[in-house]
Symmetry: none
Subunit: 201 residues, 4 copies
DNA sequence: AATGAATGAGCGTTCATTCAT
DNA sequence: GATGAATGAACGCTCATTCAT
């Protein structure tokens, strides 16, 4: 399995297109096979079952997605700069591939909990990247130091994810990357040393 | 239809239980009927079709959910107090009904886009509540005044939603309501008057 | 059962209308009840089951139909005059009640063989009327005398029935009664003393 | 679809048998599949849906039926000879295939109007054959020349159809083909040059 | 007599997966 | 390796009939 890389890739790409075009529930294996230019049975030479296709789509696409972000922040020093880059790359990559955005934000979420568990495994390295930024931010005293890391990471991820999902559902009518500074401001402010309540003095 | 409120409620409750126990895709109408203690056909005296059951579950449960939050903040004045109450009630209500939490955070999201559209309609009043708080916060100068309201609301909703989803997926091992102050702090900080970047050092 | 004649009639009339409007397969008992202005359950105080309604419709309507024809020919003497009257009344009555024509020619034929057997029982007196005309015609030497009565009756009935059915299916665009002389000519010719083959000239 | 002729034929034959044995309404797809020796799903590789099976049965069987009649009369000259052949072949073919006779005369008529419309389309060539004979008969002065062709055709078809239906309903107790001369005599007499009314005496 | 809420059996169709070629 | 015909389990919904009121 997964030997001949070419056909494997073809099927993955076909799956993304088919799911983006037809929606999760109307994406039959036979449609993916047709789009990939192979026979239905051939799919099963490269993937264990339909579930495996979906997870593999996520692995392939998210693997690149995460690596792209990780490598972009590698040479940066300040946690809040890293965070800004992370947000920028997160938005930029999804804005650049509409099909992928549709698939990851809307369609793949219709899969059953078992598949979603596995998808979460794939996301784990991304969460680690976030956790590291938070830790660094606390060390650098860029962020408050009493932060509950998993909680903060959930807040950041939830914020980014919801914004992208809304953008996809609004049929990508506006420019997602334009939102980066606002989002970054919101998050860094939220994480920085606490002011007195109510602020404005 | 929807005449005899009693049986209608019975079926709604049964649906929540069945979906929480079996997962969205394994929730057959016949299972719901059995759990509700009625015949399969009886379901269709109260609901147009299966889809209608699911949407009604959301309407009933989220209707209460939102109303509970809305009425709790009605008598409060400060936007950040309102926000704290909103977060508290949001978490508290889902923490109090584990089945409902599973259904809304995990299972109902597997529905097709048509159902999800309708679910989003039900959520709309909640988003309005949030928008109002943000507007008030700006007027009261509790929040910065140049905020992009829809964007901020997405960030708040995304934050809360992701935290609850994580809590549900972690099988509710910890106390969700305990997280309220941290989350509230994160958000109000994020929204309050901007400090110099990076703050402390 | 069949006690209070009023409601019984109401239901029969409603059934004809419902079947004519909706077609046989879309004529649910509940629709007939609604049109008749009674509760579903009331139907079963007057009829054993749905099948009984359909047969009763046929009994009521065809009873009149046949009686009308029988009484019209009673005072006539010549078999071929009787035949002409029979054809005329047959066409005239169905032309006068479009709903009935639709129901008897098209819709009731979609019933299963069991019901159709019973419908045929209702038709029997009509066939006897035809048989009597044929017998008389032979005695009067208006028709050939070696006729196979059941066969001839089938030919006559088949001829009339097919013509009416075609007229109904053509949505009654032309005048059915206008066809009487031609049909009568065809049949009496067919039944009269045999000429040499190829006939007249 | 309809590729591998063998299985297609198997299913058609199975459908005829199942319908003849069980009646139209008790002929489930699964029964047809079982009788044909294929899986339920296989049916749908060869037919669009159940309706398509029924129409195809009619197309296949009636196609042959009509072609058989058409080719038999092709080399004949006199219209009344052609008519006799038509009646003979009509009766002979249905007498030779009892299942087919049951299906076409009784069961398929229970189908809804949509299917019956399509069945009528299939019959159209047969009606054209009849129309041609009538036209020729008039040209050859074998028949009267003022005939209303569609009406005459309806009378002929109605006659034949009713005779076959009666024979089927009488459970085929007598020999259908024996009736040919009588029926032919009735029709040609009916169509030949008019004698004075009442004829013989 | 009349109601109408409740019942529950019954079936066409889809589609992931297999396997003979 | 590649094919694609064949498989068969699974389920939402309808509607004639009943029966407590």
């Amino acid at each position: 399995m997964k030997k001949q890389r070419l056909k494997y890739k073809q099927i993955i790409e076909a799956a993304v297109e088919v799911i983006a075009e037809n929606g999760y529930h109307a994406s039959q294996v036979s449609k993916i096979a047709k789009k990939a230019g192979v026979a239905d049975g051939t799919i099963y030479l490269y993937f264990k079952n339909k579930e495996d296709i979906l997870i593999s789509v996520f692995e392939e696409k998210m693997g690149q997605f995460i690596e792209q972000i990780a490598s972009s922040i590698r040479h940066q020093n300040r946690a809040d700069d890293k965070l800004e880059t992370l947000i920028d790359k997160h938005f930029r990559q999804l804005a650049a591939d509409h099909n992928l955005a549709i698939v990851t934000q809307l369609e793949l979420r219709q899969s059953n909990s078992e598949i979603r568990q596995k998808i979460n495994q794939v996301l784990k390295p991304y969460l680690v990247v976030m956790d590291d930024i938070i830790t660094e931010g606390m060390e650098q005293r860029v962020f408050r130091d009493e932060l509950n890391i998993p909680l903060v990471r959930q807040m950041i991820f939830g914020t980014l994810d919801e914004i992208v999902t809304n953008w996809v559902m609004k049929e990508q009518k506006y420019n997602l990357v334009d939102q980066v500074p606002l989002v970054h401001g919101f998050i860094t402010n939220g994480l920085s040393a606490q002011q007195e309540r109510g602020g404005a003095n």
